[in-house]
Amino acid sequence: MKKGDLDIKYLAQLAQIHLEAEEEKQLAKDLQDILHFIAIIRRVDTKGVEPTFQVARKTQMSRLDRKEKSLPREAALQNAPQQKNGYFISKPIGWK
């Protein structure tokens, strides 16, 4: 595989999703388009410009270490696809 090529199977594995052959093809094309788009943006001269990854404010405010009431358990669990004895239930996942 050439540098810069997409390994779609590898990305699917990282995201823990299953892709059919057809989906793999489509996604690979979409992602390749995105990379192409980014390659164009990268031609812009950004010398002396700080990277921008948020526009809210220059520095973040922190908060004081005070605890407040949490959600009732029923509320916390209400959207769980599966639950048991107050726990969220999930399928095991092969690796981390």
């Binding site: 594995q13 004081l64 407040e68 358990r73 916390a76 969220f88 095991p92 996942i93």
Partner: protein
């Protein structure tokens, strides 16, 4: 294939901070033995739209740790997203630090066979703990109470070369964070957790530097000091065998099975390391102001290794005595209360040894009471010419034990000491009696 190897070990120590609330929300950070999923809010559940707001206390505790080990503080630091997909992460990423952690570099002094060795650090960073998982058959039960609890990770450079050094380092970190009051660092409760990276490098020639191998084996689940030592020693031997069979050990993550004392491959592929870090757009960069740094510098106490050296210099303690005294919080506290009464090195050494070795002599007592009892005992102590006479008498009577000693059975000195104490009704100064015995026994009878 190299004929001899040197182990190259790096450690990652995680500890939970002792804050009241979580790292990015106001839920309680106290998760131990709590009913599952009761300390939760939209932020630590990773619900869409919830915004993380960093806990100032946790930031300051991490900076205090960084100052204690002489790390460079990044006054402007970042939180980043570490992406991986696992049930313990509700958001699909963990908020951590990567390119601009709170602390970079620094070193932790440990004692190895009486010598101070500085263990160089890579970085000290702050992140959020993950959920706790329980595996029941084909189900994973998830408790998110731990999710979002502030967690500090201290990463060393690959500079340790033995299991004993690794253990000494981990103990030192635990001592330090408790000393600073920033974590309980309780391995049984999981508030301190360890991972070791181990590889074997060819033994370099004299005066040459170790060439780092191009692989490393990460061992997880090391939740006691004993396991750290066992797992590392096991790994060293295992990797040696792999090298000796003509292969290079593979880069992988292994678990440790405490029951069998072995490590086992968790078969995770290296691709899992692709965490795709990027700055969290929800958390703009943060700043540690000069005011905060100055405040923390003032808070910084005398550090454990500084105190060890202080007692060594002031009272001539050997390294074992100063290390044990400083490492035992209760003994150290009692000792500190006695220090103002102590007049000389001899007194200091006697009292420190007594405190370290005979806790029943002082536990539950007030310093004044202990002092009084100790002084009375000292005044009744038999020493000098009187003691020398009794020692001489014992040596004359115990011909068999004396002969045994001189043939190399030095353990019989314990028996001879017992005889001295019997004749003095236990009033002989034990240290002096031992010295006198050794002197006389060394002379040819």
């Amino acid at each position: 294939m190299p004929s001899s190897f040197v182990p190259v070990i790096g450690l990652e120590v995680h500890f939970e901070l002792k804050t009241a609330s979580k790292m990015f929300c106001s839920c309680s950070a106290d998760h131990f033995h709590r009913p599952a999923n009761t300390n939760l809010c939209p932020t630590c559940l990773g619900l869409p739209g919830a915004l993380p707001v960093p806990n100032q206390k946790a930031i300051e505790m991490t900076a205090l740790m960084a100052l204690a080990v002489g790390a460079k503080i990044n006054r402007r630091f970042l939180f980043e997203r570490k992406n991986y997909f696992y049930p313990d992460l509700p958001k699909g990423y963990q908020i951590s630090q990567h390119i601009l952690p709170i602390g970079e570099g620094g070193a932790v002094p440990i004692l190895l066979e009486g010598e101070y060795v500085a263990v160089a650090l890579h970085d000290i960073h702050l992140e959020e703990d993950t959920a706790k998982l329980e595996h029941h058959g084909n189900e994973v039960w998830i408790d998110f109470n731990r999710s979002g609890v502030p967690l500090v990770e201290v990463v060393t450079q690959p500079v340790l070369h033995s299991a004993a050094a690794a253990k000494a380092y981990v103990k030192r970190i635990q001592q330090l964070v408790r000393w600073l009051g920033i974590s309980n660092a309780d391995m049984e409760k999981g508030s301190m957790r360890l991972e070791a990276n181990i590889s074997l490098a060819p033994q370099p020639g004299d005066g040459k530097k170790i060439k780092l191998p191009n692989y490393r084996v990460e061992v997880k689940n090391l939740n006691s000091f004993r396991f750290v030592e066992k797992a590392i020693n096991y790994e060293i031997e295992r990797q040696k065998r792999v090298w000796q069979s003509g292969q290079q050990p593979v880069q992988e993550t292994r678990g440790f099975d405490p029951q069998r004392g072995v490590t086992f491959s968790q078969r995770r592929k290296e691709v899992a390391k692709d965490y795709r870090y990027f700055p969290d757009p929800d958390i703009p960069p943060l700043e540690l102001t000069s005011t905060v740094i100055e405040k923390l510098k003032k808070q910084l106490p005398r550090l454990p290794w500084e105190e060890e050296k202080m007692w060594q210099e002031k009272y001539g303690f050997d390294w074992q005595l100063s290390q044990t005294l400083v490492a035992n919080a209760e003994a150290r506290h009692f000792w500190q209360m006695l220090v103002p009464r102590i007049k000389n090195r001899d007194q200091a050494q006697k009292i420190a040894k007594l405190i370290v070795n005979k806790p029943d002599r002082w536990q539950g007592k007030k310093p004044a009471q202990f002092w009084q009892e100790w002084q009375k005992e000292q005044s009744e102590r038999l020493g000098g010419a009187q003691l020398a006479a009794i020692v001489a008498q014992v040596i004359e009577q115990e011909t068999k034990a004396v002969a045994d000693y001189r043939r190399g059975k030095v353990n019989v000195i314990g028996y001879l000491l017992g005889q001295v104490q019997r004749l003095t009704q236990g009033k002989a100064d034990p240290q002096e009696a031992r010295q006198l015995l050794e002197q006389k026994l060394a002379k040819n009878g």
